[in-house]
């Protein structure tokens, strides 16, 4: 159980500078620490504005840190720039929420997938072969390479986005609400795809979602984030089914379940715990 973490965030603070003359800073992450081990999925659950997406973007190097550190295999990666940051691209990849805006509408699927490969200096023929492998891995027909994103459904586009993330065999993929825009049945197949990829390649996921049941299904460990602070963290079974922090409990009890009798019970419990507390 003591394998060294693949990635380790220590007391990470992120602030955004507002516009205007005074340039007031708003801190959105107030010292977040978490780690992910090789082959592990760390689930990050929270509501809009909680800062969960910012954590992912900090790992990807898309937002600067105010203080704290991010280590990848023991090495500091926060604040890396230029060539060294690009070298890290082979290790850390991302799947975004919206399958409609995360693919450039004017590039074919093949071009989109070739991009990271070519950026790492792969030859044309090798890249073609790898693209066929990738499309196969995400269960898309190989003819898909010559087509444009608009010819695909949301679920298929998300498969393309996953293929792009997998292209250069990363060690960690940040999945930011990767299935939230998908229909229920499509969502389920994409989740199973992510799990089977993990089994085969040993990739780690940071799985960011607002949906407790999806996070429970995908993650070994789960952290609950609320207004820029992680309020509870631990094994998925504990945090997502029998949480101790009041906010985690509120998240759990507000998510409706499909069994009408169980849902009636859950709603009763929600009201007894939180109805009086509202405003």
């Amino acid at each position: 159980m003591n394998a060294t973490p693949l990635i380790e965030l220590d007391d990470v603070r992120v602030a955004f500078t507002g516009g205007g003359l005074r340039r007031t800073k708003t801190e959105v992450l107030h010292g977040v620490s978490l780690d992910i081990r090789p082959g592990e999925t760390h689930g990050l659950v929270g509501e809009s504005g909680s800062g969960k997406t910012t954590i992912g973007r900090a790992i990807l190097g898309l937002v600067p840190l105010e203080s704290g550190s991010i280590r990848f295999r023991g090495e500091r990666i926060d604040g890396l720039r230029g060539t060294r940051r690009r070298a890290l691209a082979t290790q850390v990849q991302v799947v975004f929420q919206d399958p409609y805006t995360s693919l450039n509408p004017s590039l074919t699927i093949g071009d989109t997938l070739a991009e990271p490969l070519r950026a790492q200096g792969m030859g044309l023929a090798d890249a073609r072969r790898r693209i066929r492998e990738l499309l196969d891995a995400v269960a898309l027909p190989s003819g898909a390479a010559d087509r444009l994103p608009r010819e695909f459904s949301g679920g298929q586009r998300q498969r393309v986005a996953i293929a792009r993330a997998l292209a250069i065999r990363p060690a960690l993929i940040v999945c930011d609400e990767a299935v939230s825009a998908l229909d229920l049945t499509t969502q389920r197949t994409v989740l199973e795809l992510l799990l089977s990829i993990q089994k085969e390649t040993g990739v780690s996921y940071l799985f960011i979602s607002h949906d407790l049941s999806v996070v429970r299904h995908m993650s070994h460990r789960v952290s609950v984030i609320y207004r820029g602070d992680i309020v509870e963290s631990g094994d998925a079974a504990v945090v997502t089914s029998a949480p101790s922090h009041p906010y985690s409990r509120k998240l759990l009890l507000s998510a409706p379940v499909v069994d009408p009798a169980a849902q009636a019970e859950r709603r009763r419990q929600f009201e007894s715990e939180f109805a009086g507390a509202r405003r």
């Binding site: 919206d98 229909d183 429970r216 998925a236 997502t240 998510a255 405003r279």
Partner: protein, 508 residues
């Protein structure tokens, strides 16, 4: 005359080409850089651009002629510099919006260099607008140049259209028709440029998808539908919705849907995207998007047939009997008016209340939807309140006319889950206090379990299963419903703790 025009074209158009080339070379790269990197370069270049734009072009051209000499080419280069800002602004504006697109982030994460991102992802997006702008600017350049020549300021020796105009003007008494030809040449060239630019753009962005054309066709007479049972508030029989196709003809998206809602009951209409659930709801409201129509079937609300009802009477029904709660609360509030005025206005129109009366009622409604400080919310603008609060405001608006039937289209989908629980509680309370019938469109089976009495499951424009919530959710009979329920993740789907793969014997 004709030969003069042809020969003059060479100089006129050549001049315009130079001006354009200069403008493009200066405008596009600076625009790209300013838009992509922002920071100081953006501030400085925007400042310079504003300065250049503030200069009166004609005066600068006249001045530069005085200083730099009397050739068309020099003047055209100066003109190029003067019109460069229009490209800068255009490119910068687009780049700023594209810069934060997810696919640009994805490219950055892929380890692409900035110049490759700009070249591949950003240039491709700006090229369409640039082409259109080029044709417009070319027209302007030709016009300006002709103007200069006409004033006799160009190089008098080179034959251009403007010079031709000038000469024609001097001879206007003797041969007035001479004026016409250079004028026609100028006009036709500018128009041709604009048309050419637009079509090049269209070819590049081919098939960007035109919206379906609106075709207003009357609905066919309802088939003899089995009459609705008594006590039924909403009765839909054999409803079909069709959309006009681009090439003519129609595509049916809802194929014969029947459902009933009794007074005081909540029906959940569930299905995945494209199942036709929203189309069904929009038909009841009479607000199908452009090109769509109810092509067959009957919808009665409280016994009144609403298919084929004139728009005016339908509107009256929407204001009083049927209310609508939309999916995106924020985009359904106008950001430039206060919450209060958006609640008061419809009440004054539909209920004929006076200003003070409507205000009192609006505040009462806000209190009813459990908004803590109704007076303050009344005075707030939409951006000052949260999404959950906005949805409460819209619910308050829907309640203002004491509706009998509420159509709620994914009312909690855009909300956080804790807010969703509160809004559902509110809906349930209002519904039972007022005895309304509710048609709740949702993709969330948990929401159905939470709040609905009956449920109808839609797939590909058909209802495949209906029944009480307990029946359908615990013992589904249709394979699609079974598949849908099997996709739901429940508490048993929990992942076991991580184990070090290197110490593990059999992989989990």
């Amino acid at each position: 005359m004709f030969s003069r025009l042809l020969y003059g074209a060479q100089n006129t158009l050549g001049g315009a080409v130079i001006a354009l080339a200069v403008a493009l070379v200066i405008g596009i790269p600076t625009g790209l850089l300013a838009g992509y990197y922002g920071s100081w370069f953006d501030s400085v270049s925007s400042w310079v651009v504003n300065l250049v734009m503030a200069l009166p072009a004609m005066v600068v051209l006249l001045a530069s002629r005085a200083i730099l000499g009397n050739t068309v080419w020099v003047l055209m280069i100066v003109m190029g510099v003067l019109v460069a800002p229009s490209f800068f602004r255009l490119v910068r504006g687009i780049v700023v919006t594209v810069r934060n697109e997810l696919y640009v982030d994805a490219a950055r994460v892929s380890g692409l260099r900035d110049w490759r991102i700009i070249g591949r992802h950003i240039l491709i997006v700006v090229r369409g607008p640039i082409i259109v702008q080029i044709s417009l600017v070319a027209g302007v350049a030709i016009g300006l140049q002709a103007g200069l020549e006409f004033l006799g300021i160009g190089s008098g020796s080179t034959p251009t259209w403007g010079a031709a105009l000038n000469e024609a003007f001097q001879n206007i008494q003797r041969a007035p028709v001479l004026m016409v030809w250079p004028g026609v040449a100028l006009g036709v060239t500018s128009a041709a440029l604009v048309l050419f630019g637009s079509s090049v753009r269209d070819i590049l962005e081919e098939g960007a998808g035109e919206p379906p054309r609106a075709v207003a066709l009357p609905a066919e007479a309802p088939r003899d539908a089995d009459s609705a049972p008594r006590g039924t508030l909403l009765s839909v029989r054999d409803l079909a919705v069709a959309y006009a196709r681009d090439g003519g003809g129609e595509k049916e998206v809802v194929h014969g849907v029947s459902l009933d809602i009794d007074t005081g009951r909540i029906l959940g209409l569930v299905g995945e995207s494209g199942s036709g659930k929203s189309q069904t709801a929009f038909s009841v409201l009479g607000i199908l998007p452009q090109g769509g129509r109810v092509s067959r079937g009957s919808i009665t609300v409280g016994g009144t047939e609403i298919v084929g009802l004139p728009e005016k009477r339908h509107r009256g029904l929407r204001g009083r009997t049927i209310a609508y709660i939309p999916q995106e609360p924020m985009s359904n509030l106008d950001p430039s008016f206060t919450i209060g005025s958006q609640l008061v206005e419809p009440m004054r129109v539909t209920l004929g209340l006076g200003a003070a009366e409507a205000r009192t009622k609006a505040i009462e409604l806000l209190r009813m939807v459990e908004i803590a400080d109704p007076e303050r919310t009344f005075r707030s603008y939409p951006h000052q309140i949260s999404g959950g609060m906005a949805q409460r405001v819209l619910i308050a608006g829907a309640m203002s006319c004491d509706p009998e039937l509420v159509i709620a289209d994914e009312p909690t989908t855009a909300l956080d889950v804790t807010v969703q629980a509160e809004v559902l509680n509110l809906l349930r309370r209002l519904q039972s206090e007022r005895g309304m019938g509710v048609l709740l469109v949702t993709h969330n089976l948990g929401v159905v379990a939470d709040i609905c009495d009956t449920v109808a499951v839609m797939e590909h424009g058909r209802i495949v299963e209906t029944g009480t919530v307990a029946q359908v959710l615990t013992a589904p009979s249709h394979p699609y419903t079974q598949r849908l329920l099997a996709s739901v993740l429940d508490e048993s789907d929990v992942r076991p703790p991580w184990r070090d793969p290197s110490t593990e014997v059999t992989p989990a």
